[in-house]
């Protein structure tokens, strides 16, 4: 019957049909996704300009929340701490996960076992693991300081209970937790590099170090890009780890942006002000991602 229609009408009909069918597939997920993700993201940009509180009374206050942010010392502390975490967590995790992936990409016995071991911290619940780490870090009796003393280290770092040691402790646990995940991604990337490339480099007399920089690194570029973006966003939004390991303390030594949003929003019910902080977090992640995309594009061009 469709063959009786003139060609353009037929095409229009199939386009309509395909659109309806396509949407019908997407809709069950899209309804949930739109209501619970898209709408809140858009609402954020309204909320941030109001003084919405727990009673749901909202007044448009314009840029007042952002002006308040500029003079909020706790906000700047949170921002500084978030950057502190990010600046150390990204390179550490990158090096550790790539190093592990390179080790595991060789034909060694027991590779599957080590892969399991390295990935396990990532899927073990953070409530339990943060608690163990807290006990491991105990300055007086914890195994970590004992091990350090065994290797001749004389100091007694306070780790999670000292202002200087708490952020390094968080960074260590963050890296421990995530390196297995990124290792798997690097491993998948490494396995797509054709062996002939290494053979050719070897023919040219390149040593292992040389081969790493001339073959591995360039071939891994798409993977590295993906890992960098994910790690950056992951670092800026660090939250549950902090909440469970140090709760932002001691003092404000590990207070980060996500936690500050939580404090203002859910503990002090200042939804409007917390939304303004959220916008800062959103903007940082957005900008960093865009910049990384642009840099990646230019490098590929």
């Amino acid at each position: 019957m469709a063959t009786l229609l003139p060609a353009p009408a037929r095409r229009r009909r199939t386009v309509w049909r395909d659109t309806a069918v396509g949407w019908s597939f997407i809709l069950p997920n899209f309804v949930g996704f739109a209501v619970l993700t898209l709408v809140p993201v858009l609402a954020l940009f309204y909320l941030a300009f109001t003084n919405w509180n727990v009673f749901g009374l909202a007044e448009w206050t314009g840029p007042a929340n952002f002006q308040r942010l500029m003079h909020d010392a706790s906000f700047w502390t949170a921002l500084r701490n978030t950057l502190y975490y990010t600046v150390f967590h990204i390179p550490l995790t990158m090096v550790a996960s790539l190093g592990l992936a390179l080790l595991l990409n060789r034909k060694l016995r027991g590779v599957a076992f080590f892969r399991t071991v390295a990935f396990f911290p990532y899927i073990a619940a953070i409530v339990a693991t943060a608690q163990v780490w807290n006990m491991l870090f105990s300055p007086e009796y914890g195994p970590i300081n004992h091990i350090l003393h065994f290797f001749g280290f004389s100091g007694n770092p306070g780790w999670t209970v000292s202002a200087d040691g708490s952020m390094p402790a968080v960074i260590i646990v963050g890296t421990w937790r995530e390196m297995g995940y990124y290792m798997l991604i690097f491993l998948a990337g490494l396995q797509t590099i054709p062996g002939e490339l290494y053979e050719a480099a070897r023919m040219d007399g390149a040593n292992a170090w040389h081969r790493f920089w001339t073959v591995t690194v360039p071939s891994l570029r798409p993977t590295t890009f993906f890992v960098t973006v994910m790690l950056t966003i992951g670092s800026f939004k660090v939250f549950d780890l902090i909440l469970l390991l140090t709760n932002g303390g001691p003092g404000q030594s590990t207070l980060v942006l996500s936690q500050y949003i939580y404090q203002k929003g859910f503990q002090e019910n200042q939804f409007g002000y917390a939304s303004a902080i959220s916008i800062v977090l959103f903007a940082i992640c957005f900008l960093v991602t865009v910049v990384q995309f642009l840099v990646n594009k230019r490098r590929n061009a």
């Binding site: 909320l47 396990f120 911290p121 939580y262 959103f282």
Partner: protein
């Protein structure tokens, strides 16, 4: 090698041979270094889990001692009995199980369904819509948790298990993972079925679903574990103790019995154990799932 080798040739051969052994020896030291590094890394990675299990088998006084007891003097199993009496572990586990199963089922259904629309049906605006999905992966949940909470409260979902189901079941991640997989399935198959008059829904159910079993397994396991482990969602939404999940329950237990180190470690072991078992059984699918989503960022 030939017996009729001239001395010079033999010498070259010997030289080459020598060089080969040297390389092999080097690669053997390389291998030993590799193993040593792996063993050290594995020990460091496993230390927390070892400590967790060992402490759960000690009496409370033995958890912190100088020098450290790396192996308990006597193995104490009582903690594993006491914990059920002192906590509401059964309620927590039940709630967590309900949520994990419900979220996984919904995520797998809606995710694979939507992925078919994105991967195999052509219609205007499709790629833009998919971009919106992918874009939100880069938006941290922490930045919109406040409007989302207000919305959930307006819908009267907060402080019910439905809030967590709504929160976790429609993630873009599932759509992304399934789409990546569907795109590896050749279009000829669906074309042929279409010629035979099969509807798109029929193609999804009878051809795509059976062919994408590995990806469905990956998505199910990753979602299950993710829901099981979630701490922040339940922290914000589940106020009523009868709704608590294992994570939020364990956390309140830690606060309540903050000096009962051995018991806390017992609870921790119990909260991680189901995940460890699932991971050991379905390891392959976890690893493939992660690799699929990572390959084409």
């Amino acid at each position: 090698m030939d017996t009729a080798v001239r001395p010079a040739q033999a010498e070259t051969a010997l030289l080459l041979n020598h060089r080969a052994t040297r390389r092999r020896r080097l690669s053997r030291t390389g291998r030993i270094i590799g193993y040593a590094l792996l063993v050290v890394a594995a020990l460091a990675l496993l230390l927390p889990f070892y400590w967790m299990v060992v402490s759960s088998l000690k009496t409370n006084n033995e958890v912190y001692t100088t020098p450290i007891q790396w192996v308990p003097k006597t193995v104490v199993w009582e903690n594993y009995l006491d914990i059920w009496r002192k906590s509401h572990m059964v309620t927590w586990l039940k709630n967590t199980l309900i949520l994990s199963v419900a979220v996984s089922a919904l995520q797998v259904f809606t995710g694979s369904f939507a992925a078919y629309g994105f991967a195999k049906v052509r219609f205007p605006g499709r790629d833009l819509l998919f971009l919106a999905y992918i874009g939100t992966i880069a938006v941290p949940w922490q930045s919109y948790m406040i409007p989302q909470f207000i919305l959930m409260s307006k819908l009267h979902l907060s402080n019910t298990l439905w809030s967590i189901i709504a929160l976790q079941a429609f993630s873009a991640f599932g759509v992304f993972l399934m789409k990546q997989y569907y795109e590896t399935i050749p279009n000829d198959l669906s074309e042929a079925a279409r010629m035979d008059g099969m509807s798109e829904y029929g193609i999804w159910r009878r051809i795509m679903l059976p062919l994408s079993m590995p990806a469905l397994a990956s998505l199910t396991l990753l979602t299950f574990v993710n829901t099981w482990n979630d701490y922040l969602g339940p922290l914000l939404y589940l106020r009523d103790p009868s709704l608590w999940t294992i994570q939020i329950g364990l956390r309140s237990f830690i606060n309540e019995y903050n000096a009962e180190y051995a018991l806390i470690m017992t609870g921790s072991v119990l909260s991680v154990l189901p995940i460890a078992l699932i991971f050991l059984v379905g390891q392959r699918y976890f690893i493939e799932g992660i690799a699929t989503t990572g390959l084409k960022g």
